[in-house]
Symmetry: C2
Amino acid sequence: MSADKPSILIVGAGAIGSFYGAILKRAGCAVSVVLRSEYEAVVENGILIESDLGDLSYRPDHVYRDGDTPESTPDYLILCVKVLPGVDRAELIRPWMGDNTRIVLIENGLDIERAIADAFPANPIVSCLAFIAVSRVGPGQVHHKAYGRLVMGRYPEGIDDNARDLADLFIEGGIKIDLTEQVVGERWRKCLWNTPFNPLSVLAGGADTATILDTEGGEDLIRTMTEEVLAVAEADGYPMSADLIDKNIAGTRKMPPYKNSMALDHINGRPIELDAVLGNVVAIADQHGVAVPHLKTMLVALRMREKLKAAEGQ
Amino acid sequence: MSADKPSILIVGAGAIGSFYGAILKRAGCAVSVVLRSEYEAVVENGILIESDLGDLSYRPDHVYRDGDTPESTPDYLILCVKVLPGVDRAELIRPWMGDNTRIVLIENGLDIERAIADAFPANPIVSCLAFIAVSRVGPGQVHHKAYGRLVMGRYPEGIDDNARDLADLFIEGGIKIDLTEQVVGERWRKCLWNTPFNPLSVLAGGADTATILDTEGGEDLIRTMTEEVLAVAEADGYPMSADLIDKNIAGTRKMPPYKNSMALDHINGRPIELDAVLGNVVAIADQHGVAVPHLKTMLVALRMREKLKAAEGQ
């Protein structure tokens, strides 16, 4: 690695964090990680990544454990944890933050930057959406199946040198980057699919796309919910073409039946990113006085389900 | 038993059918039953019912098996099966119907009489709502825990001699009867609680009343769904006071946390009476052009869930 390359710290080095760390390692950066349960495995073996891009396995420059004191603060801190109730992401990264640390979010959902921006108003934020198929196959072991493109920009808008420099490193490491002036708009666009499909698949007990669309009333419900998301996005300053509804349905029907990541989380008993994908959309709808009865029904029913699951877990 | 008492045939002698058969047996009627899986047990031991009303156990006058040919047709045929997709209730009772057989429905839900009335237009129908806590504890064994009142009337409306005579027999057998001129209105009134609470408890994974009402947004969602039911009932010719919404919520909060029968069916892997409790309400809303977005979201999500469950059962 070269001294003029920025230093990277990945907080939450699951499948996604481990993968993008590998890409930046290939670009010549010093890449360290903060881990919780996989600490021992990674100290011993490094991070093992099987990928069509080649062997992306690497030994992080430092392997920290949650609660450690850092030897130095990074140029870029990349946060890749799930956005869940009870997880205070700002507190999670606070110990690792320097005055000049830029925060990079590679996380799902809408309005997930706000809590971080409020907690660290002086640190620039680069917000990223990952289009990738990658999964954890064991402690410190990741299988990268396909894709890897990042859509990224400065939060709340624009493209600054922080985003541009990071984009160049990712490109050097071998993945495709789309810089965007309106990363929040891109998040809305991703919500157009995720906000109806992901929670509905959970509510239906872990249904795939074909079950959702082919149930009596299913496609209509998806269309109506997508219209609700469109209306909220427009009220929030991010209008999109209504043609996208037809395109989303047609695109989904073209794919083989597919269980989205939230459905898989549900099936595997993991918590779901309900607020990031749905709750924040409904909250913004309420702020703007946009009626979203279908989304709200789904949100409240899923809140009940998560509450029941938490109570039964006790 | 006395020769001037009408003969009774119970089709679907589960917990509810067995109990009301016992009541009519106490009133001196000849009571026969048609059974499927519990045939052997009932032939051997009769029907065993533990109850605060005393020992209600009895040997039916005839024990038929589904598919048998009847020796005679009954004066009253009491149908107590669940209203489920794939169960053609008219076909189920057809072999047992005589020209003068009156049909008695002791079943949950709304608009569940129509299929029977269409199939047997010349036979009078007595429609009943049961307010009872009773459960099957083994083959041919029933535990009657509390209540037993029936609200009953001629379908589609009025009170005729068939309803009155049957009511007298039930009263003679020891239970409370409320005759009603508007049994469909009474079904709407029961739906005011059941239509929001029952399906929502299933959607939430088997939640009790406290979990439903105390989740963020839960009471509001119940209120909104109850308003939707009120609007459909009014469009259907059965206006009710909006005060009932507050009364339902307050009454529910006064009870200990409670899992309704649909939640228990769901938890125990049994099919749920989705159309009787919710689907028929939404269908009537559509006929009248009443918007019910919250109910419809719940219905479609539950249809997906039932479809997935059926597919996984294959």
